[in-house]
Symmetry: none
Subunit: 413 residues, 2 copies
């Protein structure tokens, strides 16, 4: 079944907010076995909404609509739906009761403008909203089924899950779609394209696609089959092939993120860690502590921005700072050994670099970052160059550091 | 001039990512005086892209397209554009030079798949990409002008600002739209609605709207007038009124974010700061070090997750930890005084709390966070409760801490 998502509202079209509703619904429809073929967003103008709905119905059997069900004058999605269907808006008794009880529970009376929120196009099916005043509704047009939901994300999600999903399950065949995303790090998208070219051929099933976000690569595998089990097996076969090709570049095949993958390895190997940061300024500790319960493995973090902090807390010898400078593999090594020692941790990881925009020199340009990792096997170090602005350089460096820990724990660094 | 935004990519249509590019471009087009009338998103299928582009051209004179310019087989926006125009793709000499110099700067050779990124539809105008390998291009179709940009947000933004905006300014009349956003913290959205109700009347010009994202309130003011100067004056009058109403809740009226506002105050007052974090785990240091050159004011940060780190580095007396527990205002106070002392800083700030999901008790539930700030005026402390999940609690707590520093530096905490 093909589906389209239609988002209604000036705030979306004029760019005041990003349309997260469409992304949410699209991902859920994929799970349910529908194929989302397009999104569109229309302004709060009745004729434009009617046109968008009609166009969506021409190309998709299922149309999910969000927004424009509010109480104010500029909310005209109800009117547009009624016009599309060629019917009047009528008050729905259950919607009206729900509206009044919503206000009663809050010890308030509905404002007159709220009353239109209990109307739906004549002949459509009322969809209750348990978290707000806007009634939803479902209706048919031509060969398409349309579901109208509020634009407030919390209300939309509840209505979709509680009211729309059960109805979709009745009409959709048991989904034969199965989807998994591998996360990887340390490869460019074009390297990845070269390595996975075969799998990424257009028209192949499973469909394999890649995307890069914040230095993390997602390899998305979607199989479409007659039943979920077959689809799942197809995806798993691909995952095995991709694991053979990408090896330790792969962080996870179950959406486990980098810090959680590191935490899992620390737990498995029974190791503790301490972190010394200069240019990343706390980001590595911040990422590591996303993981609940990490205090068993993450002993302490030091943000040693000043040289004084490096010498005093981390015991970096002043001679090292003087001879090699604060951004150098030598300083990184001393920081890693120093923080490991201070915290009495199994692993010490350290980062020092030039995040910019100022502070670069021809020898040590903006984007140069030095890493070191100290453990019972000694101290290893890396010098890297990252592109991008200050925040990107810091983010990439923090992830590089966590990945170095991951690779070390896997025995490949 | 009417404009449409077309986003291309399975990752958008299938809901893998939310379409932030469309929101960015829509807001910028508003600034420039164009009227965005719709968005649409199409999958990476040539015929669907051609259809989306053709439909957009039928309703808008200006069409901004993002995505599908990557090196892999599934990127077919170039091919679709050429098909729409009825021309061949040709290598652009300048695009090709740019591609090679991009790889040269990184001491790598372009992969063969990258070469197609230097092709554009015959007769179109090349738009350089200074931050990536995908060339952009501009072309006409019927009465419409189309600009094709990469989907990677950083590359898209640069290309839009550097290449598209100057071209749009040539054709668009001088805009009488003027927009500013005030940032505020410490108020709920409904408090805000009550305080600013008058200004937020529908149909008022300037239009005043609010939104909340990650605990930060945005108050958006848009004036529409015959010329930019009048619009600007209208906005400035509103800003003065809102400043009177909201006072120190306001972080900035020029989109200066909280860490930058704190950094500015540290600089103005000539103060230095040190940060001790438990539950926020490095986030406060991470936010503070978003600011370039902050090393002059931010001396050091300590992520003292373990009690041992609290006693050893921060000199929190063991008796305090035993009597009050690691999450307590007393411990926060000792941490703040300890880190201030250790770093010899003017201000010490400390946070300790329960970010969850585990670790809560009836007395100290998940979301309880204690803050302390030590300076030459003594030590102040706060105990707060935050809602949300682990990551929201940590984020809100980090911002609360920075805001406490801000209010202290303003003399109101």
């Amino acid at each position: 079944m093909n589906a389209e998502i239609v988002s209604i509202g000036n705030e979306v079209v004029y760019g005041v907010i990003a349309d997260t509703n469409a992304a949410y619904l699209a991902a859920r429809l994929e799970d349910l076995g529908a194929t989302v073929i397009a999104h569109r967003a229309a302004r709060d103008f009745e004729d434009e909404i009617v046109a968008a709905l009609a166009a969506a119905c021409r190309s998709a059997e299922l149309v999910l609509v969000t927004g424009g069900l509010g109480p104010t004058l500029d909310d005209v999605t109800r009117e547009a739906a009624a016009k599309l269907a060629g019917v009047e808006l009528v008050e729905d008794r259950r919607a009206s009761e729900m509206l009044h009880s919503f206000f009663r529970a809050r010890h308030r009376a509905p404002h007159p403008v709220n009353l239109k929120q209990a109307t739906i196009p004549n002949g459509s099916t009322y969809l209750p909203n348990r978290h707000g005043t806007a009634a939803g509704f479902a209706m048919s047009h031509g060969n398409s089924t349309l579901f109208f939901m509020p634009g407030v994300p919390r209300e939309m999600k509840m209505m979709f899950e509680d009211e729309v999903v059960p109805r979709l399950r009745e009409t959709l065949p048991e989904s034969g779609n199965f989807r998994r995303t591998l996360l990887a790090i340390g490869l460019g998208e074009s390297d990845l394209g070269a390595k996975l070219g075969d799998l990424m051929q257009r028209g192949r099933n499973p469909e394999v696609g890649t995307m890069v976000q914040g230095g993390i690569i997602g390899v998305r595998i979607i199989a479409r089959a007659a039943d979920a089990r077959t689809a799942r097996e197809m995806v798993e076969t691909d995952i095995r092939r991709i694991r053979e090709i990408l090896g330790p570049f792969i962080i996870s095949d179950d959406e486990t993120t980098l810090p959680f993958a590191v935490a899992k390895l620390l737990e498995e190997k029974g190791r503790t860690i301490a972190i010394a940061e200069s240019c990343t300024g706390g980001l590595i500790s911040g990422m590591m502590t996303e993981v609940p319960g990490i205090s068993r493995f993450f002993l302490e973090g030091v943000v040693a921005y000043s040289n004084e902090a490096k010498t005093e807390i981390l015991r970096v010898p002043e001679a090292v700072l003087e001879r090699h400078g604060s951004v150098s593999v030598e300083t990184a090594k001393a920081m890693a050994a120093g923080v490991r020692d201070r915290a009495d941790a199994d692993i010490g990881i350290a980062v020092t670099g030039i995040a910019g925009p100022g502070g670069g020199t021809p020898q040590k340009p903006v984007g140069m970052v030095c890493f070191a990792l100290a453990d019972d096997g000694g101290v290893i170090a890396r010098e890297e160059r990252f592109g991008g602005n200050r925040s990107e350089i810091r983010d990439r460096a923090a992830k590089y550091a966590l990945n170095l820990v991951r690779l070390r724990l896997l025995g490949v660094a």
